[in-house]
Symmetry: C2
Subunit: 203 residues, 2 copies
DNA sequence: ATAGAATTTGAACGGCTGGTCAAAAATTCA
DNA sequence: TGAATTTTTGACCAGCCGTTCAAATTCTAT
């Protein structure tokens, strides 16, 4: 059912390689439907070997979540704190988030699909960090409204959910080597969010 | 682990009630992590009883997918074929899609998360109907560009993915009884997509 | 009331799951 | 080389999974 990835013998087994292989399998088949045997087969080893590098199945999932957050959080924080105008901040934030979604798309799919399988305090920590991440976007929009750059009728929370939804959805359809690069897609999204579709506006 | 829903004894067991309960459990815990015992418990019956109404677990999943498509497809088709201007069409399409995402949110979560667990030709049929559904949005945007109402630089495919991502994401955060109704949220989304965030534009 | 049909039960099944572990193999380094 | 260490094996376990089915129950209509 799960074909072997083209990694047999090439790479040394480690937490990193396990997590990478698991992310692809979880993204393709779901966390619950991916067995440790599937992962072992994909890596060209036996199930038991995995347990030398990893405590259990859930830890693999935890490591995927941490990887996503490690990549995503810090650059966004820097964008928010930089001293450029809000519209440019938003464009950079969209560009950053789109890039993460595009080149870590298995991890992103897992991140937004499988949190339900995290248990205990770790799941709550993820929820909290997700909220913080979202709040950065909210801040940028509020800033833009306060500066008179964004329309005052905009609800920052709804707009944030809209923008993040737009970017996150990318991992559902983006395939490397398509018509557009992640950078170009991010530009399209920025134009759409900032300028809208209409040629002219009345407000 | 899975608490009983407040349905015990109240409703008669049927395909419909099974599908409804399953949708909530699948949405909350995932298809793979939801056992038939979980569903039976939630409905106040034993596992065996389910098999009188349903062929197997995958059929339950299939019925959820069909339910979503049955609700979503036809109204959108009518909007596309109606003789109103593209901007208004888009607003109505967004409103329609948002409404579906909001008041069938368990089913929508399952629809976009668990297709991987469908097997055989049915999965391909769903993919095809999904694509057709997306193409309706593309059509509206192309129409708007052709009519000179939408900006010519817009890529209809990317814009469609963006809009659908925005709406679909709703099922991840929307809770009935929040600050805004689905109708209001749809209006926000329409404004965002059509007019953008910026107060003024140069193009 | 009672026959007949519709529905539910509860036990049983084979298979797969995540996890464990002593022994074997591979690697490292003096 | 060869001893010490790191890594992998492969067999094993207990438990849960989806599914089946004969028997028991409940419902329906006369």
């Amino acid at each position: 059912m799960v074909e072997k990835l083209a990694e047999k013998g090439k790479v040394r087994l480690s937490q990193q390689t396990i997590v990478a292989a698991a992310a692809e399998l979880f993204a393709r088949n779901g966390f619950g439907a991916t067995s440790l045997d599937d992962m072992a087969t994909a890596l060209g080893v036996t199930k038991g070997a995995l347990y030398y590098h990893v405590k259990n199945k859930e830890e693999i999932l935890r490591l995927i979540f941490l990887q996503v957050l490690t990549i995503a959080e810090e650059p966004l924080r820097q964008i928010v704190e930089s001293k450029i105008d809000p519209a440019e901040k938003l464009a950079q934030a969209i560009s950053h988030h789109t890039a993460v979604a595009a080149d870590r798309s298995p991890q992103m799919i897992v991140f937004y699909r499988e949190q339900v399988h995290l248990t205990g305090p770790f799941s709550r920590e993820i929820s909290h960090r997700k909220k913080t991440y979202e709040s950065y976007f909210e801040q940028i929009i509020e800033e833009g409204i306060a500066a008179g750059q964004f329309r005052a009728e905009v609800d920052p929370k709804i707009a944030t959910f809209g923008i993040l939804g737009m970017c996150n959805w990318l991992s559902q359809w983006y395939k490397p080597g398509g018509t557009y690069t992640p950078t170009q897609i991010a530009q399209f999204f920025s134009q759409l969010v900032e300028g809208g579709l209409l040629v002219s506006r009345t407000s």
